[in-house]
């Protein structure tokens, strides 16, 4: 592929993604403040459901990953359990419900759905394992 062809192909690839990228950012900026404001009210204190709620909340939230740690830190200070916050933080950056249309366009529907479902389950599993390991280390 020569230089001109390579540039045109790369430009076309970005150009296809740009409208979805802008659309997603617009949606996120419309819903984001609402989700961040109400996150702490949604957790119940139940050790079984909280990680699930955390993963669900994280999946539909979107923003730069650094924001997830700040929101997660705030949730911790409001008394939300570490396992729920860990699931929330991890799902925020690994599961992209808002990103799904763009992932489908670029990488295929089955790939995107399969990957996001696995990431959702992993967010809960890793949260439980991380907090479990941390407790074990503290205990020893």
């Amino acid at each position: 592929m020569n230089t001109k062809q390579a540039f045109l192909k790369s430009f076309a690839s970005i150009k296809t993604s740009l409208p979805i990228m802008i659309g997603i950012l617009l949606l996120v900026n419309l819903l984001g403040p609402f989700l961040e404001k109400n996150a702490s009210n949604i957790f119940t204190g139940n050790l079984f459901f909280d990680p699930l709620i955390g993963a669900l909340m994280g999946s539909i939230s979107f923003g730069i990953p650094i924001t997830s740690f700040i929101v997660g830190g705030e949730l911790l200070s409001q008394g939300v359990s570490l396992v729920a916050v860990t699931a929330f933080v991890l799902a925020w950056s690994t599961v992209g419900v808002a990103m799904l249309p763009l992932e489908i366009v670029n990488l295929g529907r089955k790939f995107a759905i399969t990957r996001n479902l696995i990431c959702f389950v992993f967010a809960i599993v890793i949260a439980v394992l991380t907090v479990g390991t941390l407790n074990l280390i503290n205990y020893l």
Partner: protein, 169 residues
């Protein structure tokens, strides 16, 4: 005039979002305005990254031959392919919506789907964010958390490949 049916899906999506904004704006104008303003700020912030990704995509298209991609990230890449995906996932920064077009090109050139999943999962181990995670969650948590992410990224890649193969994708 272009009809809605003839529009590309990506433009249809943007149009639907703009309609949602108009409806929200009718009831809460300041919320819609803030949304547009924040989107503008983010777009300006990520513009250099978009240019960088455009440049990387250009380099991939111009210089990376299909046989090289297949060798390092293709179905016979083995442990080396896994290693490259983990390292590049950790080191390459940028939001997923910017990286998807690049991965699409790499996939077309022969990158394994499992390695795309591994790459995307390892984006969560971000070296510049480590001080912030340590600040909020402590150093022990950060080490354990990051370790599990790398470990589960491999399992993630394996499972994605397994389920897609099962469905003959």
């Amino acid at each position: 005039m272009i009809s809605f049916r003839m529009m590309k899906n990506s433009y249809k999506f943007l149009l639907v979002v703009l309609i949602i904004y108009c409806v929200v704006g009718l009831f809460n104008f300041s919320l819609a305005c803030a949304g547009v303003q924040n989107t503008g700020v983010v777009l300006i912030k990520i513009f250099p990254t978009i240019l960088l990704i455009l440049f990387i995509t250009f380099l991939v298209n111009r210089y990376l031959e299909v046989d090289k991609i297949v060798k390092y990230l293709g179905k016979d890449s083995g442990k080396k392919g896994l290693f490259y995906s983990i390292i590049s996932g950790i080191l390459i920064s940028g939001p997923p919506y910017i990286l998807f077009p690049l991965l699409k090109d790499l996939k077309k050139k022969g990158m394994k789907k499992s390695l795309i999943a591994v790459f995307l999962y390892n984006r969560n181990v971000k070296i510049p964010f480590l001080p912030l995670i340590i600040y909020y969650f402590g150093p022990t948590f950060t080490v354990i958390f990051s370790g599990y992410i790398v470990l589960f990224s491999i399992l993630n890649g394996f499972l994605v490949e397994y389920f897609l193969r099962k469905r003959n994708v």
